[in-house]
Structure formats: structure tokens, C-alpha cells
């Protein structure tokens, strides 16, 4: 081979190698974009819902406000659309098209505006998930009737509503204001978000003081001996233990041994705090190490004790770094679901939890529960829930970045 050919070959190899690197990085980025955008795209239907505007006639009726049959009123109103439908089978099939949440919406509307009790007024009744999907995506009429979610008669009704111009698409805030439900059109993530908040609060309360003080001990007071070495190895290893193992610990120790309640954010918080502890300890130690020794020496020279040096001088200087590390650890705990599955936080919880002892789910677990649901409309809801999860995580991490940018001291 001539020199020139060899040089060319080496040059070529150089470019090729560089392109491999760039391509890998690019591919990883593309995957990130693909995941986020596919979630966003699939979540779009979750933010709107089709419904129908009907007149509810309460004007000439005698009404007992304390014992009002909201469901009956809704039923009466929707059956006014098709007076021919009067046998049981037809009525059942007809009312299947409307959301069972409509009665609750009516109750809320009436409670908000008392004057409505004596009036006829227009009320927006949500369609059920099947009818909603029909308007959003249509339906394959060539499929045999029993393989479809809607039969021919139901499709006819739905098309009829549309021709009459009664159907209306509206933004639906159910996702943000409701708890979980078996009906996709009224299911929301609020209960799960609150459950997550409680869990994270417990995690913070337990792991932050213990983590920071443990780190201070190891960094400032502990003499280097076998015991502290052993503790250090343990902390480093604990940071890499699979999260599900913490779930097993929680199940065996907290629930079966201590008899703490299943599904409660309290137990979830305890488990997650054991997981977050090593993260906080490692971050705190790094932050303490970065404080220059001159500060410590100066304080000691002024007659401060070891404890005073740490708490009055080193800790304030290291605090931004410690808080950043804590927030990042909490963000990880916030997105964690595997250990929570094992301690029973996968329960179907409709009510929004009121305390740390109430049964609750967490947001990531809610994603898992919905992803498992057979109803097609839950696909959009699940994607929307993942977006909410990612959005909250971005906010948490942004807080960490801002904290670091704003308060971090450069020595």
C-alpha cells in the first residue's frame, strides 16, 4: 500500500469513528424525542370530550333539594331525545351512550347555582367513552356487530345527534380535577397526585434530617476506622440496590411485622425514604467536601467547637448543594413505582386521600393501573397521565437547577 492510500485509509477510519460517536448520541436524543412526542400525540384525545347540550326542565316540578334523584332527571332528559325507545333493553343500550358521571355534574351545577332549581336550563351531558371514541375516531362498520363496542342501533343514534347539531366538543378538565374512576371519561389524576405529594412529604420528613446529619457525622466527626468504612460501603451499595427490593423490605417489615396499614402514603413514604437516604447522604457529603478548609480553620481559630464550626459555618455554605441533591433524590422517589406496588398502593382509590393514613395511589402507579385497563379510552388518559408526571418532574428538577444557579457559592 502506498503512503497516500494509507493516509487516506486512516483519515477515513477517523471520520468513521467520529460519525459512530455522533450517531450514537443522535440516536439516544432521537429516542428521547420519540418517547416524549409519542406520549404527547397520544394524549391529545384525553383533553377533550364530546357531550350533548340538552334542556333540563325543572321549572314546573316540585323539588325536594335534599333528596333529589339526579340520575332520574338525567335519564328523563336523555330519553326525551328518542321517545320511541321505551322497552328496557333499548333504554339500557341508549343510556349506555352517556357518561354515568353526568348525574354528579348536575348535582355540582345545582349546588353551585341555587336558582337553577326553579328553571329550565341547558345542561352539557358528557358522552360515555365508547360514544366519545366514535366521534373522535369513527368506527369500522365492516366488523361484525358483536365485535364492535357499539351496535348498529347505537351508531344510528349517535349519527342522529350529530345531524341535529346537538353534539359539542369541549375541553375536559376531568383529568386534573377528579380521582380515579372505572369510566375513562371521568377518571382523573388528582387523587394520585395528592397521594404522591403525601408520600413525598413523608419521604422528605424522614430522609432529609437523617440523611444530612448522617452525612455530617461521616464527613466531619467520624474517625476513619472499620466501622465507618463499613457504613460507607453500605451506603454506596444501598444506592444501587434495585428499588423492588425496598418494596419487599417494606412489605415484610412495615406491613407484616409492624402492622402498618396497606396502601397508605405513610408506608410508601417510609419505603421511599430508605431508598432516598443514600442519595441524600452522598450529595451532602460531596457538598460538604466542596467547602474550603480555610473556613473551618478560621472558625476553629476563633474558638468555635467542632459542632459550631459545622452548624454555623460549613452547613450554611453547603446548603444549596445539599438541597439540590435532596430535590434530585426526591424527584427519583417521585417517579418510582415498583416498591409501591408491593405495599399495596395499587388499590383502586376513587376518593382523594385526606391524610397520610388513607388508602392512596401515587401518580406513577396510576399510570401503571390505567395502562392495564382494557378500555381503549384509557390509552389517551394514560399518556396524559405520563405527561403530567413528566411535567411535574421537570418542575421539580428545574427548581433544583435554579436553586443551584442562584445560591451556589463559588470558592
Amino acid at each position: 500500500m502506498t503512503d497516500k492510500a494509507l493516509t487516506l485509509k486512516r483519515k477515513f477510519a477517523e471520520t468513521r469513528f467520529k460519525i459512530y460517536g455522533l450517531a450514537s448520541l443522535f440516536l439516544a436524543m432521537v429516542m428521547l424525542v420519540v418517547i416524549i412526542s409519542s406520549m404527547t400525540y397520544r394524549s391529545i384525545p384525553a383533553f377533550t370530550n364530546y357531550g350533548i347540550n340538552l334542556e333540563i326542565k325543572l321549572a314546573n316540578e316540585f323539588i325536594d333539594k335534599d333528596d333529589l334523584d339526579y340520575r332520574g332527571i338525567i335519564r328523563e332528559t336523555i330519553f326525551s331525545l328518542d321517545s320511541e325507545c321505551d322497552d328496557r333493553k333499548c333504554r339500557r343500550s341508549f343510556s349506555k351512550l352517556f357518561s354515568s358521571g353526568a348525574a354528579y355534574d348536575l348535582r355540582d351545577a345545582l349546588e353551585e347555582d341555587e336558582s337553577l332549581y326553579e328553571k329550565n336550563f341547558n345542561f352539557y351531558i358528557l358522552f360515555s367513552d365508547d360514544a366519545d371514541l366514535f366521534y373522535k375516531f369513527g368506527i369500522d362498520k365492516n366488523l361484525p356487530e358483536n365485535e364492535r363496542r357499539l351496535n348498529d342501533q347505537e351508531i344510528l343514534w349517535l349519527e342522529g345527534f350529530q345531524e341535529k347539531g346537538l353534539v359539542e366538543k369541549k375541553f375536559s378538565s376531568n383529568l386534573f380535577t377528579n380521582g380515579d374512576s372505572r369510566e375513562p371519561e371521568i377518571a382523573g389524576v388528582l387523587g394520585a397526585v395528592i397521594g404522591s405529594m403525601y408520600t413525598i412529604l413523608i419521604t422528605l420528613i424522614i430522609s432529609f434530617p437523617i440523611g444530612v446529619l448522617a452525612a455530617i457525622y461521616l464527613e466531619s466527626f467520624a474517625s476513619k476506622n472499620r466501622i465507618t468504612d463499613f457504613i460507607e460501603v453500605n451506603i454506596n451499595n444501598l444506592a444501587a440496590v434495585p428499588s423492588i427490593v425496598f418494596g419487599l423490605l417494606g412489605l415484610a417489615l412495615f406491613i407484616n411485622f409492624f402492622g402498618m396499614p396497606r396502601s397508605a402514603p405513610l408506608v410508601g413514604g417510609c419505603v421511599l425514604s430508605l431508598m432516598t437516604l443514600p442519595v441524600i447522604i452522598i450529595a451532602t457529603r460531596a457538598s460538604l467536601q466542596s467547602v474550603p478548609p480555610s473556613i473551618r480553620e478560621a472558625a476553629l481559630a476563633m474558638g468555635a467547637s467542632e459542632m459550631q464550626v459545622v452548624f454555623q459555618h460549613i452547613l450554611p455554605a453547603a446548603l444549596p448543594g445539599i438541597l439540590t441533591g435532596t430535590i434530585i433524590g426526591l424527584a427519583r422517589a417521585f417517579g418510582e413505582s415498583a416498591p409501591l406496588l408491593l405495599i399495596g398502593m395499587v388499590a383502586f382509590v376513587v376518593d382523594i386521600p385526606q391524610s397520610v393514613m388513607d388508602p392512596a395511589t401515587a401518580l406513577p402507579v396510576q399510570v401503571y393501573i390505567w395502562a392495564d385497563s382494557p378500555e381503549r379510552a384509557f390509552v389517551a388518559k394514560t399518556s396524559a397521565a405520563t405527561l403530567v408526571l413528566i411535567f411535574l418532574l421537570i418542575i421539580i428538577n428545574l427548581a433544583a437547577v435554579i436553586l443551584r444557579k442562584k445560591y451556589e457559592l463559588k470558592w
Binding site: 451499595n237 444501587a240 423492588i244 427490593v245 447522604i281 459542632m307
Partner: protein, 422 residues
């Protein structure tokens, strides 16, 4: 130093009582149960375990209200009275002892205070001890994990043979609810689960190792600092996305995509294939590979690189022949950590890999993993003594030890490597 004197007496008077109070709260439930079991009538015990659990729970919730306790009609009036009085006495005694102790300790501390007393040093001694206790929480957690796993695993092996579990090739943990049920035996050969885990981990590493390594090479050796500062955090986002999101993505998009493309090629692919779970998991662990590899390659001394470049080697030749071999131990450590991450990953496989315990190396078929089985065995209602539930703890123990070994080897290699160039 009046602050320190105050703090000294505060610590003395509160520390031990608080600890006792904590113990009181922790054992409260078990004490209640102990008292209740003593008095539970024969008739309820005969009905069965569920009835007993229910009655105990109801009584437990109402133990501090005598009227309700009697109106429940579970206990006779005498035993309800007895229970109420006994618990009341226990509670009052325990709590008064705590309060008295607190007072006594406080007085003792105050009596020690005087002008010459070095409160600061004494307070700091106590605080230092408290901090030491806090720092052992990590050790206690590890012990807690090991003990609880081993305890349940031993119970599992008292019902299922060790060799059957470790070397059996058939896994179907469903045990009978009734005696006469078909297929009631339940078999616990974990080999299909281990191979399934290995298969998915292998696929994940095929994706993550080259992508992560090449990304790290590009970021640490080629990229300008501005590019690096921008892309490194971006890559880290991949590690920050919750795994449940990856799982949903794998189950919803990747699984069906692989299935349909497999079908156009005339292959039979199950929707929950090992490939789908492995690929997505691979994407997830890219940053674990890249960020540590990046660190170790940046830590290779400049002199090695300069020497190679001065001899006329191109940049890629330097990386391949000098930097990579020098950084190899660190890179191996990074890979081991990534493997440990992949083995322990739960949500992606739970949502995308399926439950069928197939003994196969075909990435297009459904396999199951250790973590999936732990979740399926423990989610939902469970009786705590069935081998089905205990099997999850045995699997957990295997998982813990394998990841522990990988982590420790990785940590040692990386540490040795760091020491070599420091």
C-alpha cells in the same frame, strides 16, 4: 453559654422518653392484638382465619371506646370490660412511666448544671452520638433487607426443595385454593425466570453498551465544551424519565411495532416480546453507561493522550489504542453497574415482557423475569404462608445477592482504577 445549659437538660429529659414513646407506637398494634386474642371467643376462631382477622381489626379500631366495644357483640360484656380495662391500664402505665422518667431525667440534668460545668462539650457528645445512630440507618436498612429476605426464604425452602427452585425448569406458582383443584401442585423451578432475566438484560446491553460507550467517547473526546454542556444533561434526562413511562411506551408502541414488522417478515412475534422490553430497557440504561464511561475516560491522564498524538496517531487511533485500554477497568465497572440496573429494573418488564415462564433464547417470544414474578406474586390479596407468596422473597434474595455482587465488583474496579491515576 446559657443556650447549651438549656439544650443539655432538654436532651437529657426528652431523648430516652421519646425513644420509649416511639417503641410504644411501634408495638401498640401487636400489644392490642395480644390482648384481643386472649379474649376472642371460640365461636369466631372456629369460623376461620378471615373472620378472626376481621374481628381483631374491628375490635382494635374501637378498643378505646367501651360502649362501641360492647355494642359490637363480638366479645361478651365481661371480656369487653376486661379488655378495655387491661388496655387502659397498660396504656396509662406506659405513658405515665414515660412522663415520670422525663421529669426525673430533666431534674437530674439540671442538678448537674453549675458555673464550672462544660455544657457545650457534653451536649456535643450527645449530639455526636445521635448523628452516629443516624449514620447507621443505612447499615440497619441493609440488615433489614437481608434478614427479612432470608427469614421468608427459609420458610419457603421448608416447603419447596432448594434444588427444585434453583435447577427446576418448570415454573407455575399457582397453588390450589381448594384441595381437589386440577393442577394444584404448583411448581417452583426458577430456571426459566433466570434465563428470561438474562435474555432481556443481554438485549438491553446490546443496545446500551455501544450507544452509551460511543456517546461517551464523542462527548469526552470530540465534542466542544459548549456542545458537551448541552448534550450531557440531555442524555441524563433519559435516566430521569420514570421507568413506568418507558414501560408504557414499550407496551403501547414498541411491542406492537415489532409484532407488525415481524409479521411482514413472516415471523411469529408475541406482543409481549423479550425484544420490546429489552430494547426499551437498553435506551433507559444508555446514560448509566455513558456518564460513568465519560468520567473514567476524562480521568485518563492528558500525558498518555498527548504522547500518542505526538507519535502521529490520529485521534481515533489514540482513543482505541491508548485511552480505551487505559480506561478499560472503569468502563467494565460502568457496564457491570448497568447490568445490575437492568436486572433489577421492574416496571418496563412488568408492562412489556409478560408472565409466561418460557425457557427459550428466542427474543421474539414472551419471557418473564425475576422482578416481574415478584410483582405478580405479591400484588393483590395474598395469604402470607403459601409458598406462592414466599417464592417472591426467595426470588428477591437471589436478585439482591446478584446485584450486590455486581455492585461490589463494579465499585472495587472503579476505585482501583481511580487510585491508579490519582
Amino acid at each position: 453559654m446559657p443556650n447549651y445549659h438549656g439544650l443539655y437538660s432538654l436532651l437529657w429529659s426528652q431523648l430516652v422518653p421519646l425513644l420509649l414513646l416511639l417503641i410504644f407506637i411501634v408495638i401498640d398494634a401487636s400489644v392490642k392484638e395480644l390482648f384481643i386474642f386472649e379474649r376472642l371467643p371460640e365461636s369466631i376462631i372456629l369460623i376461620g382465619q378471615d373472620e378472626v382477622n376481621y374481628s381483631v381489626n374491628v375490635i382494635k379500631d374501637n378498643i378505646r371506646n367501651l360502649d362501641v366495644l360492647i355494642s359490637l357483640d363480638i366479645l361478651s360484656i365481661e371480656s369487653a370490660n376486661g379488655l378495655y380495662n387491661q388496655y387502659f391500664l397498660y396504656r396509662t402505665l406506659f405513658l405515665s412511666i414515660i412522663s415520670l422518667l422525663s421529669g426525673a431525667l430533666g431534674f437530674f440534668a439540671i442538678s448537674r448544671l453549675n458555673m464550672r460545668f462544660d455544657a457545650r462539650r457534653n451536649v456535643e457528645k450527645i449530639l455526636r452520638f445521635i448523628f452516629f445512630i443516624f449514620s447507621t440507618v443505612a447499615v440497619l436498612t441493609t440488615f433489614g433487607i437481608v434478614l427479612s429476605l432470608i427469614f421468608e426464604t427459609l420458610r419457603f425452602f421448608s416447603q419447596v426443595g432448594f434444588t427444585e427452585f434453583m435447577f427446576g425448569t418448570h415454573w407455575s406458582p399457582q397453588t390450589a385454593i381448594r384441595e381437589d383443584q386440577v393442577g394444584s401442585s404448583g411448581s417452583f423451578g426458577a430456571i426459566p425466570i433466570f434465563t428470561g432475566t438474562l435474555l432481556i438484560t443481554f438485549i438491553a446491553m446490546i443496545v446500551a453498551a455501544p450507544l452509551g460507550l460511543y456517546s461517551a467517547i464523542y462527548l469526552s473526546q470530540y465534542a466542544k465544551p459548549s456542545v458537551r454542556n448541552y448534550f450531557k444533561p440531555m442524555l441524563e434526562i433519559l435516566a430521569g424519565i420514570p421507568t413506568v413511562v418507558y414501560g408504557f411506551f414499550a407496551a403501547l408502541s414498541v411491542g406492537p411495532f415489532i409484532r407488525s414488522s415481524g409479521e411482514t417478515l413472516g415471523l411469529t412475534v408475541s406482543t409481549e416480546s423479550a425484544l420490546a422490553a429489552g430494547l426499551v430497557m437498553g435506551i433507559m440504561i444508555i446514560p448509566y453507561v455513558s456518564s460513568l464511561s465519560d468520567d473514567v475516560m476524562s480521568a485518563v491522564p492528558e500525558s498518555l493522550r498527548d504522547g500518542s498524538l505526538a507519535l502521529g496517531a490520529t485521534k481515533s487511533e489514540t482513543i482505541k489504542k491508548v485511552i480505551f485500554p487505559a480506561a478499560l477497568p472503569g468502563i467494565v465497572g460502568a457496564m457491570l453497574l448497568a447490568i445490575s440496573r437492568a436486572i433489577g429494573e421492574t416496571m418496563i418488564v412488568v408492562m412489556a415482557a409478560g408472565l409466561a415462564a418460557n425457557l427459550t433464547a428466542n427474543p421474539l417470544s414472551a419471557v418473564t423475569t425475576v422482578t416481574v414474578q415478584i410483582v405478580t406474586l405479591l400484588v393483590g390479596d395474598q395469604e402470607f404462608d403459601s409458598p406462592k407468596t414466599l417464592a417472591a422473597f426467595a426470588l428477591g434474595l437471589v436478585l439482591f445477592f446478584i446485584t450486590l455482587i455486581l455492585n461490589v465488583i463494579a465499585m472495587i474496579t472503579v476505585r482501583r482504577y481511580r487510585e491508579r491515576y490519582d
